[in-house]
């Protein structure tokens, strides 16, 4: 067959109907002309018509030969099967919807999680030649860190090491900026400081105006220019084309907008998306809290990260060996003793950064792979359900299949038809799943963004995601269509032909259906146990403080100017004045029950100065110095702190008198402190001694319950709470806690106004509830717990549907038998027992099969899981018991529904139907 005729034939296969019509017309014309000629020769019209037919030959045979020669029969058969499958699905919409929705959910969930993994871990940055980018990190005393001080980066950038270095501000020093356009205060935005060669090195091209250049980053405080991200430009300025030249007030300083980055550029840190990029030299203006780190660098503030582009032919090893000596010259010397203990020399390391830099990767990738496993299992369960539904359908269609086989249809041809139907279902499920995934991905990201900074990811599906969806859909199709396809054509013509008209009495397919249901039960048990573990973890993390009203407590970060320089003369007094005024003002707002301040907040543990723990209170002032002595962290608070946060307290709270500058030092300790320092004693009235300067002896006036809210994941640490003036910490930033009587949303604006009225130099930060704060800290655990619970419930539902479907099918199969039994006097309870026995066997087998599955699962995942579990181990008995009870409950409901139907068999009706 030449290519030309092949193409014609393929084309013909798709235009079958119109071609058939034209052939009909042609044949009709031929016959008419032929008959007319016969008539001319003197025949009657009837005889002429007959003669014409005789001359023409078998019309249908000719047409068949014509059609065979015209198209490609395989294609035509497939098209016919597709049409048939579509018709079949349209005719039973319930079945179609159930199957397609199940698959779409499964495939959608898998695609969504995969999209996230792809976006976080595998996607290359949208910059020029990402493969030659590296992140520069340093290893000091055996620990790898990515931050440098500004002078270090300046020294490193001056070295000619065959590598170009660009700098940007680390996300460990987040740049939250109060923005103001046209004099209006606006929601805070995220910024990033970048060196003058940052955009040039990345090869980013502006979509409007220009980007920051080397000229824009020479003099400290000298270049108030800003580049907007595409998202911020769109969000705030409606893509205003004349944006360059506009003014933006950032944390009180005016910046000229000079340009906009392209939409595919999100910076180099995956998940973070700065709204504005500012020159590095503007650091002091926008990071007032940490002070000017360019002019007066602090060796402990390593706020600059280095991005490197290797020149062709330069290896990462060579570049780092050239940079190392310079780094060592610019870093403080480590005491020789410490150096000897930790061993390693200072080193510089280049890590490939083609996919960007990400904390998300470390934080979420284990969780995401666990989620992928979970949704994968759900998809398998969904496939098993689909297979069962198809089996039931195949059984219903058995008479038709038998008849067709008897009439000479090829088994391959019948199998093809079942396969095509499966493919249609799979494709529909895949399409639905793909659409669903775009929504699900965004929901997941929104959910995971409950932390401090919203996560911004490039979520447009790429080829990898598309390939994943297609492969998953196809794989599913293979899984769920395999058994039904085999069963559908394994029909014994002679055995089954007798029952063409009745319900098929041979129980073909039941054993496979049983196997599928047992698999479903086992898999959903595994899922339930997994979800149970994650939920337990979340509960352990969030409920240890037994405080039920977290959503009634507001958390407000307040950083009045100068709060970072508590050491400055007069500053503590000034801050104390601001804080007390703030608390008085907010405390008098209607709806506020109590208000206090403290220097620790969830997720941002501020280990204050240490306090020596003095066993039995026997340690004297001089002994407190000992290095090996366990120590407690010191936290500065105001009175009312425990009441506001809902932490129990015995002894007494601080008083106004304790909070004065010249008050005698007093403290409140927590139970963990008491357990170490004063076991079996009453600590109240005893003293403890602070290690740092000034050394003080504090009298213990109260004991607070253990609270892990500042770092839920760590075990409870001993804590010493002191009044603000008496704490030894060098920093003065405090967090305002407000306990409310009613709905927070109604009171937040009033609280905001109160803060503003008390001191309008306090920047307006977000006001959140304590519950939101804690959720932000345990976002990963909450994500795992919620999603795994949702999906294991879905799995359970699917399993219940599968179980119920199978039991109903069995009842239907045995309707006649049951009817006879009932007619002969069998009790209905006997019928119910029959169904119940079947259900117990199925669930029991599933549970037994789940045990080895779970052992394998636990063995494989123990490392991942111990990462994400808290306060329990993989073989948690309670979780297992709960999972099995849930399964038994749901199995029971499914079985009782089927049993009810079985016992309501009316023998007269059932037997008459035969």
């Amino acid at each position: 067959m030449t290519l030309r005729s092949a193409l014609k034939r393929i084309q013909a296969s798709f235009t079958r109907r119109s071609l058939d019509a034209s052939l009909d017309e042609e044949v009709r014309a031929h016959l008419e002309m032929l008959a007319a000629d016969h008539q001319c020769r003197g025949l009657t019209p009837e005889a002429a018509g007959l003669a014409a037919r005789r001359d023409f030959g078998g019309i249908e045979q000719i047409k068949d030969a014509y059609r065979d020669a015209r198209g490609v029969s395989a294609i035509e058969h497939i098209l016919r099967d597709l049409a048939y499958a579509g018709r079949g699905l349209r005719k039973s919409p319930g079945f179609a919807v159930a199957v397609v929705v199940t698959l779409a959910l499964g495939i959608g969930a898998n695609t969504a999680v995969f999209t996230l993994i792809d976006a976080i871990s595998w996607r290359n940055l949208s910059v020029q030649d990402p493969e030659s980018l590296s992140l520069v990190s340093r290893i000091r005393l055996g620990r790898s860190e990515t931050g440098f001080t500004f002078p270090q980066t300046r020294a490193l950038r001056a070295v000619d090491a065959g590598v170009r270095l660009a700098a940007y501000s680390s996300s460990a020093f987040p740049l939250r900026l109060t923005a103001s356009v046209d004099g209006n205060l606006e929601p805070p935005i995220n910024g990033q400081l970048v060196s003058g060669n940052y955009f040039d090195l990345l090869g980013v091209v502006p979509q409007a105006g220009r980007l920051i250049r080397a000229d824009d980053d020479r003099v400290p405080e000298g270049h108030p220019v800003a580049v907007l991200s595409d998202a911020y430009w769109r969000r705030r300025f409606g893509r205003d084309p004349a944006i360059a030249g506009k003014r933006l007030l950032l944390s009180g300083r005016a910046f000229d907008i000079i340009g906009v980055t392209p939409p595919e550029f999100f910076g180099v840190e995956v998940g973070l998306s700065p709204d504005v990029f500012l020159p590095m030299m503007m650091q002091a203006s926008v990071m007032p809290v940490v002070g000017d780190l360019i002019v007066k660098p602090n060796v402990n503030r390593t706020w600059v990260q280095l991005l490197a582009r290797l020149e062709p032919g330069v290896s990462r090893e060579r570049a780092s060996s050239l940079l190392e000596p310079v780094y060592r010259e610019n870093v403080p010397q480590v005491p020789p003793a410490l150096r000897a203990r930790s061993g390693a020399e200072d080193r510089i390391v280049f890590t490939p950064a083609a996919t960007g830099i990400s904390d998300l990767r470390a934080h979420f990738s284990t969780s995401l792979f666990i989620l992928l496993g979970i949704v994968g299992i759900v998809l398998l369960i969904g496939c098993a359900n689909t297979a069962n539904l198809l089996l039931a359908r195949a059984a219903a269609r058995r008479p038709e299949m038998t008849l067709r086989l008897a009439l000479g249809a090829g088994r391959a041809r019948l199998m093809q038809q079942v396969l095509i139907e499966g493919l249609v279902i799979g494709a529909l499920g895949g399409l639905g799943g793909f659409a669903l995934a775009t929504v699900l991905t965004r929901v997941l990201v929104l959910y995971a963004s409950a932390g401090r900074v919203p996560i911004a990811l490039d979520l447009t599906p790429d080829l990898r995601v598309l390939a994943f969806t297609i492969a998953t859909s196809f794989l599913c199709t293979v899984v769920f269509v395999f058994v039904p396809a085999i069963r559908a054509v394994r029909v014994e013509v002679t055995a089954a032909i007798g029952s063409v008209n009745g319900t098929a009495r041979t129980l073909g397919g039941v054993s496979s259906a049983r196997l599928l249901v047992v698999t479903q039960v086992a898999l959903s048990l595994v899922l339930l146990v997994g979800a149970g573990l994650f939920v337990q973890t979340l509960i352990n993390l969030t409920t240890t403080d037994h405080d039920v009203s977290r959503d009634r407590v507001l958390v407000v970060r307040v950083e009045p100017s100068g709060s970072n320089q508590r050491g400055a003369p007069g500053m503590p007094e000034r801050l104390h004045h601001i804080y007390t005024a703030l608390m008085a003002r907010v405390g008098s707002t209607p709806g506020v029950r109590s208000v206090s301040m403290g220097n620790v907040s969830p997720g941002k543990p501020e280990s204050g100065a240490a306090v020596a723990i003095t066993p039995g209170g026997t340690v004297g002032m001089q002994d407190a110095r000992s290095v090996d002595r366990p120590s407690a962290s010191m936290q500065a608070i105001y009175r009312g702190y425990f009441a506001t946060l809902g932490i129990g307290l015995r002894g007494r709270d601080f008083t106004e008198a304790d909070q004065r500058l010249d008050a005698p030092p007093v403290c409140i300790v927590n139970e963990a402190f008491v357990r170490i320092a004063f076991p079996d004693q009453d600590p109240i009235g005893k003293t403890c001694i602070s290690v740092g300067a000034p050394r003080r002896a504090y009298m213990i006036v109260g004991v607070a319950d253990d609270s892990r809210y500042s770092n839920p994941r760590a075990p409870v640490q001993p804590v010493v709470y002191t009044p603000f003036f008496q704490s030894n910490t060098g920093r003065g930033q405090m967090i305002l806690y407000v306990r409310l009587d009613g709905d927070p949303r109604a009171i937040v604006p009033a609280v905001r106004d109160a803060i503003w009225e008390a001191d309008n130099s306090v920047p307006q930060y977000e006001v959140r509830t304590l519950a939101e704060e804690v959720d932000g800290v345990v976002v990963r655990e909450r994500l795992l717990a919620t999603v795994s619970m949702a999906f294991s419930l879905l799995a359970l539902l699917l399993t219940a549907i599968g179980l119920h479907g199978l039991l109903s099918y069995l009842v239907l199969q045995r309707k006649r038998e049951l009817a006879i039994r009932v007619a002969l006097g069998a009790r209905r309870s006997g019928v119910i027992a029959l169904v119940a026995r079947e259900a117990v066997v199925l669930v029991g087998l599933g549970a037994i099969a789940a045990v080895p599955l779970m052992l394998v699962f636990a063995r494989v995942s123990v490392q991942f899981l111990s990462d994400v579990l808290f306060g329990l181990t993989v073989d948690d008995g309670v979780t297992f018991a709960a999972a099995i009870s849930a399964l038994i409950l749901v199995g029971g409901v499914a079985a009782s529904l089927a049993a009810t139907r079985a016992s309501s068999v009316d023998p007269m009706v059932a037997l008459r139907a035969e």
């Binding site: 030449t2 000629d37 019309i59």
Partner: protein
């Protein structure tokens, strides 16, 4: 018993159709069938319908083309005409055919020695 008419040898029908169209210009199916019957002078048992698969084959190969038109007695009919490639093919096959016939008659005409 000698049959009054013979089955159409394989491939011969295609050649006949091409020749007919070459000689007579555009024709509808009935016209072609009638012409072939006339030329065969009753020596051929032709089911007229069988020319349609042949026409389809030829068209798929690009040797003839077709278009709807009106027949002599005002019926809508599909008219076939030979293409340039078809003429070339006709020349080729006619040559091959006559050589085959010559060879066959040589073989059959000369008793084996």
């Amino acid at each position: 018993m000698s049959p009054p008419s013979a089955e159409v040898p394989y491939g011969a029908l295609d050649l006949m159709v091409l020749k007919t169209l070459d000689a007579m210009g555009p024709q509808h199916g009935y016209g072609i069938a009638r012409r072939i019957e006339q030329m065969a002078e009753g020596m051929l048992a032709l089911n007229q319908g069988t020319i349609y698969p042949a026409l389809l084959r030829l068209e798929q190969k690009g040797w003839i083309e077709s278009d709807w038109g009106t027949s002599e007695n005002n019926r809508r009919a599909r008219f076939y005409s030979i293409t340039r490639a078809g003429r070339k093919q006709l020349a080729l096959e006619a040559d091959l055919w006559s050589r085959t016939v010559a060879m066959m008659s040589r073989m059959l005409g000369e008793p084996s020695s």
